[in-house]
Amino acid sequence: MADRADVWQGTLALMVLKTLETMGPLHGYGIARRIEQTSGDLLIINYGTLYPQLLKLEQEGSIESEWGISDNNRKAKFYRLTNAGRQQVHEETREWEQTTAILDRFLSPKEQS
């Protein structure tokens, strides 16, 4: 299951970043909830797996964190995209779109004529 986990890590990272791009600064719980929603509940993840991922992204410099107050007045740690992170989102999005486009051609050859 190793490579699956790696791919998983990569896609999860991109999902996190995209979520932050769309939603702005958000805490871990919020990010997890949002990812579930966006995937139309097709994706069921353990919320706990998010945190090591957030740490990794922070270590890589794609996001940064800050303690703040949440909607219901609780102290929570908020994450937000850095400039490098923003760039990463754009690049990786484009890569994914390319990848899916190529795969599309392979997997549905009836387009050729």
């Binding site: 871990g28 410099g61 949440s70 609780r74 929570a76």
Partner: protein
């Protein structure tokens, strides 16, 4: 790539302040769960369902925390840190144990570091010269002369000119020279070298120039190089001294350069250096005189064997053509070997000894760790039960022992630094290059290597042992079961036996050295060692010798020297406190310095040089024999009436009578100390007559034997006496200007120094006097090498016995604690104190007995390597062995008695109650 680097850096940073970050994450998780719970409640769940749901969705709080922690830092470093922290806490909790271990290790590792520094400097580190592997020592070896290692100048010049395998062949010898003018006259030890000497060693001068070939011819030779020390001390480090003139032995010399500060050659303490040169008719430059030592540098690509073959080819040619040096050959050895030859054996023995000490220290450490491991059995069992892996536990034990070993290593290193300085001070004259011995990086690496290996080895066995136990057994058992850890107990006992055996071997070695030094100091040297003052007077030849007459071998050449000493001795006799005064050219114990051949006229003359009998020769003045307390066995001593005009007489020693006269009375027999012409090779005779050195009808002086003196050990306390001829200074046909004054005093020898110097000053104001010492001090100095060895070995042996005693005490003590319950039962059943004592002691004594037996066997085998270091003592000397066995057994018994006595103090009620 940059991203990965950044990640790793952040992770390394994450090692620091880990606790704080973990707490921060706890808060984050708390907040997460709270928010989720809130949402769940809002969605309609009850509070309990909300909480459970949130936790489930998170996927395990602890797991998440652990994953986070793993990613935050570097997990294995984290674990290692934790182990270290735990180990430190453990060490702090039992300070006594920790202290004992640290001291044990510090001693073991420290001693080894010092010894290794010495070995490193002497045997491993290259000599401080350019390309030292190419440097050689070349010596003449053979048995026909008293001095086996010196070469004559003509031989040296021949070897130098004709060899094909050496880039350099240089000669050197050392003489005291008088430096006068300006300041106080000073006698300076001077190394006289062939001009290429310094370039052979690759030592450029610090100032000025080195010697060149042009400095060699007689007349151009009056140049000198000064040592850095002399330059600073006498000339105030004045750079303008280069090019200036100095007065050496009454002649003007020009200073051409100063040597670098760190220059040293063998342990020769020369302060001045002059080129080797001989006047055209100088007798020194002949086959009658052997006093040069040689070094060489191999041509690139040439082996030592090739050089040896080449040089011996030349040597054999000289023997064949000139009929001299018969029976000799040249030995070519690496320079370093020649340097350390004398001490190599001793140093290796010391290294072995100190290795033993380390082994004993390690055994102690292992024992202590084993004991501790036994105590922690329960803890280990519990931890295994709750899921720690055995590997993890072993790793933790190892961390502990490595940490202890590292701490011990640091302490040992500190000890070593201090000791090396002390060692330098103590062994100045004994170890060559002692000023070079210091703790250096190689030694540091060695020390920590030893510490690491010690830690791992000594920790591994107890560690593996601990985790190999059955968990259930340990959880069940009380901590004082009588039958537990049988194997562990056997191991500890074995370790103690080993310690006792090793200590015994060391102690025997030390004991043999002690006896050897004692023997040396009590050898009958043939003279009185106390109440005698000696001092060295070297007259400058230009002032006291008629050099022209000397070249013609005329006995009148030394009239002025004879006169000087006659007058000085006469004056010294009248100094209050002086009982007798005399002089000799070579003091006892300083070496066999003058070898010649004796010719007997009561038997047929030998046909050639091969048939001549070698002897040692000395010239004496005044009451030498009475001053040194040398007994005259038969006949008489020399008197003031034995002048140059009087009939020529000699005194021989008993060894000569024994060897060459079969112990018959030699009084009245006639001898010569120079061979007659018929014995010399024809070519030499023709050459000498042609150059007018000797008349065609030359006859050597004939001497009548008038006395037989007791044997005196001129060669040293451990050498036996050689056959020796004494001639009166005034009558000797070859002179010398270097004499030792010997004065017998009432009371303290040094008390008359001032008066004697005054008398000498009145005869010659400019004459320096040197090496003023009581004879007793010289005797003591001559045994300084074996004495240092004895001290060092003794120190190691003392350490060993101390460590062994600690080890025995520890094992016995622990064993008693283990058996408290058993003892309590026995006492409750009626055993008395004596019975308990016997029970416990029996265990200890068995250990000791086995250890002593093994040690004895080992000692008999191993002391064989010490054979060359001993004098007058066999390597299996029974007295020493018995004494050491008694000493060690007594110490060991005491060490086991103390805990045994504690056993008798056990209160059976308390013991039985305790669990």
């Amino acid at each position: 790539m940059r991203k990965r680097l950044r990640v790793w850096l952040r992770r390394l940073a994450g090692l620091v302040g880990g606790d704080r970050r973990d707490r921060e994450f706890d808060l984050e998780l708390d907040a997460h769960l709270q928010m989720h719970i809130d949402d769940n409640v809002r969605a309609g769940m009850t509070i309990d369902e909300a909480r459970r749901g949130a936790r489930l969705k998170l996927g395990g709080v602890e797991q998440t925390k652990e994953q986070y922690r793993d990613r935050r830092g570097v997990p294995w470093i984290d674990a290692a840190f934790k182990d270290v922290r735990f180990a430190l806490r453990l060490m702090a909790r039992s300070p006594g144990f920790t202290a004992v271990v640290l001291v044990t290790l510090a001693i073991g590792i420290g001693a080894n570091t010092v010894m290794f520094s010495v070995v490193n400097t002497l045997l491993l580190r290259p000599l401080p010269y350019a390309d030292p592997a190419q440097l050689l020592s070349i010596e003449t070896v053979g048995v026909t002369r008293g001095q086996a290692e010196m070469t004559s100048p003509p031989d040296f010049y021949a070897y130098r000119a004709k060899n094909r395998t050496l880039d350099h062949l240089e000669a050197f010898y050392i003489r005291p020279f008088n430096l006068t003018g300006g300041q106080d006259p000073e006698r300076v030890s001077t190394l006289i070298v062939s001009p290429g000497f310094f370039s052979a060693l690759g030592i450029p001068p610090a100032l000025g120039r080195s010697f060149v070939a042009g400095d060699e011819p007689w007349g151009s030779h009056r140049v000198t190089l000064l040592s850095d020390g002399l330059w600073r001390r006498r000339f105030g480090a004045d750079p303008n001294i280069v090019g200036q003139r100095l007065t050496i032995n009454g002649e003007p010399y020009v200073v051409v350069g100063i040597l670098p500060p760190k220059f040293s050659f063998f342990s020769i303490d020369a302060q001045m250096f002059v080129p080797m040169a001989f006047a055209p008719d100088d007798n020194l430059n002949s086959h009658s005189n052997y006093f040069l030592r040689m070094i060489g540098r191999l041509k690139p690509g040439v082996t030592r064997e090739q050089a040896a073959a080449d040089l011996n080819r030349l040597s054999e040619a000289i023997i064949a053509e000139q009929h001299v040096n018969v029976g000799t050959a040249l030995a070519v050895t690496p320079l370093r070997d020649a340097l350390v030859r004398d001490v190599r054996q001793a140093v290796l023995v010391m290294l072995g000894a100190v290795g033993f000490v380390l082994l004993i220290a390690c055994a102690n450490l292992a024992n202590l760790l084993l004991a501790r491991a036994a105590v922690r059995r329960r803890e280990v069992a519990v931890r295994l039960a709750i899921g720690a892996t055995r590997a993890r536990l072993v790793r933790q034990f190892l961390t502990e022992s490595v940490l202890l070993a590292a701490a011990g290593g640091v302490a040992g290193l500190g000890l070593a630094y201090v000791s090396v300085d002390a060692l330098n001070l103590l062994s100045q004259r004994v170890l060559p290059r002692s000023q070079d011995v210091h703790v250096d990086p190689a030694v540091l690496v060695f020390t920590f290597g030893v510490a690491a290996v010690t830690g791992i080895l000594c920790g591994l066995v107890p560690a593996l042992h601990s985790v190999a136990t059955e968990v259930t057994d340990d959880l069940k058992d009380g901590t004082r079961s009588a039958s537990d850890g049988k194997a562990r107990h056997r191991l500890r006992t074995a370790l103690v036996v080993a310690e006792v055996a090793l200590s015994l071997v060391l102690l025997v070695g030390a004991g043999l050295m002690v006896k050897s030094v004692y023997r040396l100091l009590h050898v009958d040297a043939g003279f009185e060692t106390s109440g005698v003052l000696t001092m060295q007077i070297n007259l400058p030849p230009e002032k006291y010798v008629d050099l022209a007459l000397d070249r013609r071998l005329s006995p009148l050449a030394y009239e002025r020297s004879v006169g000087f000493f006659r007058e000085v001795i006469g004056r010294v006799r009248s100094v209050p406190g002086v009982r007798a005064a005399g002089a000799i050219n070579g003091l006892p114990l300083l070496g066999e310095v003058w070898g010649k051949y004796i010719v007997f006229y009561d038997r047929p003359l030998p046909a050639d040089m091969k048939g001549l009998s070698p002897i040692q020769y000395r010239v004496v003045a005044g009451d030498y024999f009475r001053a040194l307390g040398i007994r005259i066995r038969s006949g008489r001593a020399f008197t003031d009436r034995d002048t140059r005009e009087a009939p020529k007489v000699v005194i021989v020693n008993r060894e000569l009578v024994r060897r060459y006269w079969n112990d018959q009375d030699p009084i009245g027999k006639v001898v010569s100390v120079n061979p007659p012409l018929s014995v010399l090779p024809k070519s030499v005779v023709d050459e000498a007559i042609k150059s007018a050195r000797i008349p065609p009808d030359y006859q050597p002086d004939k001497f009548t034997v008038v006395g037989v003196a007791d044997d005196v050990l001129y060669g040293g306390l451990s050498r036996s006496a050689l056959p020796l001829v004494y001639a009166p200074y005034a009558q000797g046909s070859e002179g010398t200007t270097n004499m030792f004054l010997t004065v017998r005093t009432d009371g303290e020898p040094l008390s008359v120094v001032g008066a004697i110097r005054e008398q000498i000053r009145q005869v010659d104001r400019d004459q320096p006097v040197a090496s003023i010492q009581p004879m007793a001090a010289r005797v003591s100095a001559s045994v300084s090498q074996p004495r240092v060895q004895m001290n060092v070995l003794g120190a190691f042996a003392a350490l060993a016995i101390l460590l062994a005693a600690i080890g025995i005490y520890g094992v016995m003590s622990y064993s008693v604690t283990q058996r408290t319950r058993e003892i309590g039962i026995r006492m409750a059943l009626g055993a008395g104190r004596r019975d308990v004592l016997g029970l416990v002691l029996r265990q200890g004594l068995t250990m000791i007995a086995v250890g002593v037996a093994v040690g004895l066997a080992g000692a008999m085998l191993m002391t064989r390597v010490m054979r060359t270091l001993l004098f007058g003592v066999s390597t299996t000397d029974p007295m020493v062995f018995v004494a050491i066995v008694v000493l060690l057994s007594a110490t060991a018994c005491l060490a086991s008695y103390l805990p045994a006595r504690r056993a008798t103090g056990v209160d059976p009620l308390v013991a039985l109650r305790d669990e």
